[in-house]
């Protein structure tokens, strides 16, 4: 991928300033660029100057801090092959000596590149076809569709994950609300009062319930409690009242229900 040394006008102009990073609208990637060069007959290895190549690459290395070692090795390999090609070009054809070391992976690399390009080119053509279709499509307009709610399709992870995120978000919102304090629905014992004040308040309420000499069952108190914390507060209030001698706890029969009445 060494476009800056080619004679293509757009490529040369586009590359000089930014090193090897190709971000041009004209080219979608190195393979596209390569195809374009092949098609336009602009790729002639013999015209590439190795000194230009190294100078440009050095500038690129200085500009880019983190070049992968693979990219560097590809560059060295390509430059070496280019040099070998030039040296061979100086000699008449068929003058290779018996002891000459063949270019490592030279033909194989060419074949591999050709294979890659052959695989890539149909998609490139298909993208051109899609571009034509898009232009054609933009000449007519359909009735605008309303935004549909996400539909879960089998294997549609995006929709599924969206639903999960929505559920998690709702759960987090509820948790956040609990952390921030009681809502209107949570008024009563679960107000921001201290535990002590809540127990005090419950003691007064229980005293009112048993002041007429009526007895109360433990079960009825539990049923009347709306949440776990109110049960705890009720239990603490009962124990406190018993400790202060203001409450009598009794059972009408063995293993019978616990009942409370005023001890005053």
């Amino acid at each position: 991928m060494l476009p800056s040394v080619f004679s293509g006008n757009k490529i040369t102009n586009g590359i000089c300033g930014v090193g090897f990073e190709i971000e041009l609208e004209e080219y979608t990637g190195p393979l596209d660029l390569l195809c374009r060069l092949i098609e336009s007959g602009e790729m002639e290895a013999s015209r590439i100057r190795v000194s230009d190549l190294i100078r440009t690459y050095s500038a690129y290395l200085l500009e880019e801090k983190g070049v992968p070692i693979r990219t560097i090795s590809e560059f060295i390999s390509l430059t070496a092959r280019l040099l070998l090609g030039k040296v061979r070009g100086l000699f008449p054809p068929g003058s290779a000596t018996a002891g000459e070391v063949p270019c490592p992976g030279g033909d194989d690399a060419d074949k591999a590149l050709r294979k890659v390009l052959e695989r890539y080119r149909p998609f490139r053509k298909a993208s051109e076809l899609l571009a034509e279709k898009l232009v054609e499509r933009q000449k007519f307009f359909l009735r605008r569709m309303d935004e549909d709610p996400p539909i879960y399709d089998f294997g549609d992870l995006f929709s599924l994950s969206s639903l999960w995120w929505e559920l998690i978000s709702n759960k987090e919102e509820q948790t956040q609300q609990r952390r921030l304090g009681p809502t209107e629905e949570m008024l009563g014992f679960e107000s921001q009062e201290s535990d002590f004040l809540q127990v005090e308040k419950r003691i007064l309420e229980l005293e009112k319930l048993i002041e007429s000499g009526n007895s109360l069952s433990f079960r009825s108190l539990l049923v009347a409690s709306s949440s776990r914390s109110s049960i705890v507060v009720t239990l603490l209030a009962l124990l406190e009242m018993a400790r202060m001698g203001r409450l009598k706890i009794f059972q009408e029969e063995r293993f019978g229900e616990l009942r409370f009445k005023s001890a005053v």
Binding site: A126, M145, D156, L157
Partner: protein, 195 residues
Amino acid sequence: MNCDSKAPSEKADVLAALESILIITSEPISHETVGRLLGIPPREASKALLTLQGHYESGHGFRLVRLGGGWQLASAPEQSEVVNRFREDMQEQPLRLSRAALETLAVVAYKQPVTRGEVEDIRGVRSDKVMETLLRLGLVRVAGRRKGTGTPLLFRTTAHFLDTFILDSISDLPRLEDLADTQDFDEMEEGEGGH
């Protein structure tokens, strides 16, 4: 839905009923659905749709187009300029896709379900940003994960893709083999051989 009792019998009635359905639908409607709604065989429905398509071919501001597995009314291509002005007034931007996006879409369309790595392998360039754009535009969607190392996400094209590129189905695209052309490579090799 049984519509036999109220099914239009005459050809003119069928066409009128068909127009009524087409004018209110905001998505492609198949000939099978039309047949079921009008109480006529699918083949008859298909004929009626083709008749209407021919009828709107000229002298009308709209066309009956076939896309996304069905039929839908669309504005006439000749009126694109005025409709574009209208859309600009309504602050609607036409869809613009870069060549990289189109190329990525082509790979997804032909190779689906496909992982991003496979797309990058074919294109020879990173495609994460492009894929994000295509996902955002609703032209591709995540369609599960490939079993194996890393269980990468698989991508597919959407119904919106078919709509955007006037395709009835993915099979409307030319075969990949038909798009393959090695002529330039052969010429290049010949040129190099003679050098």
